[in-house]
């Protein structure tokens, strides 16, 4: 085999490998859907976050507008403080917007749904959402239903 054909084959191999890496990165992983644009952070206080985790989606009317970037437990108020990173191009949520933790499907992942309020001012970086609904815990609900049935 001449030097030239060998070089061609190695070139084909390396190109195929890099192309495969590129396909995996763009088509298979979420790199193409990740938004690297500017975000602003608002916090919300929940009594119970259920199965919410960092990187969980934040949606408004079902459309992805941001992600959960941090969750800490506040041992002064005994509640969880969740930081939502919302994309800068969705910066017109009224200050009295409400955050609720919902579950996608019956057993799916949990996400935060933002329900816009009616005030004039808009949320900005560092604000705190005043109204936040905790996650629905399936076990608690079932327990409550059973307790109601028994007491009847």
């Amino acid at each position: 085999m001449t030097r030239h054909t060998l070089e061609i084959w190695v070139g084909v191999f390396v190109a195929a490998g890099i192309a495969a890496l590129f396909v995996l990165a763009m088509k298979v992983s979420n790199l193409s859907t990740v938004t690297t644009g500017d975000t602003y952070n608002v916090t919300a206080r929940f009594d119970n976050i259920g199965g919410l985790s960092i990187r969980s989606p934040v949606k408004a009317s079902g459309v992805l507008v941001g992600r959960v970037s941090n969750i800490v437990y506040d041992d002064k108020t005994y509640s969880a403080i969740v930081t939502l990173s919302i994309q800068q191009n969705f910066n017109q949520f009224p200050v009295d917007s409400r955050a609720s933790i919902y579950t996608a499907g019956l057993l799916g992942e949990q996400y935060i749904e933002l329900l816009p309020g009616a005030e004039d001012g808009y949320l900005k970086d560092g604000d705190r959402l005043l109204m936040a609904d905790s996650a629905m815990i399936l076990e608690q609900m079932i327990g409550r239903i059973i307790a109601d049935k028994i007491s009847e």
Binding site: R3, L6, E7, W9, V10, V12, F13, V14, A16, G17, I18, A19, A20, L21, V23, L24, A25, K27, V28, S29, N30, L31, S32, T33, V34
Partner: protein, 267 residues
Amino acid sequence: MQNIVCWMTNCFALLGQWAIHLFERTGRSALFLSRIFQSIPSTIVRPWLILQQLYSVGVLTIIIVLVAGAFVGMVLGLQGYNILVRFNSESSLGTMVGLTLVRELGPVVTALLFAGRAGSALTAELGLMKTTDQFSAMEMMAVDPFKRVIAPRFLAGFISMPLLAAIFSAVGIYGGYFVGVALLGVDDGAFWMQMQKSVDFHEDFMNGVWKSITFGFVATWIALFEGYDTVPTSEGVGRATTQSVVHASLAVLALNFILTALTLETN
């Protein structure tokens, strides 16, 4: 009584022999690796040597990786569909095929194939060179066999493995796509969307790439060391080749478990 004591001491002697042998080999392989690292700078200035090895280590392994990847992906598609359709969730087929291939099967199966196809060839080649005293002959001519023979092979293996693993995963995903979407009628958009939703670039894709880099490093190191450390007889070359495949495969499987455990723990 005398017999039992004698038997016990023999047992301990055997155990000690085995332990000393193990530590000796571990030490030698570490020294071997450090000599490879020292030789890498003078190898990089001779890319033609690396190119030749890239051909025999990488290009000649592509065929087996392509065929294996396609079939593994097709089996994943078929089996995954059969399980998921019971829960009416065959739209998650993409998630299953993508995550399995990118995180686990891609790097591991490629490394096993690599150890069998390229690693054994490297071991046999070096073993025969040692048996026929070619290393000594090179040293006589003031040619460092590490710079001339071993470091180019090491670099070629190190570069080839991640590329081969990526080819394997990509072909496997299209194999799963072919079976799931084209043959069994899973929705095309759901397949890709569910996959993109659940395969994270940093946590899953990069994890797979790091795994394949690690496996390439380990498999090539073991193959080269087994060849260089061969008992210089024809029987020794045969044994070294077998050992190279067995040790590299076991090392890859064990390392894969450790790496998976480490990356899942941080989540």
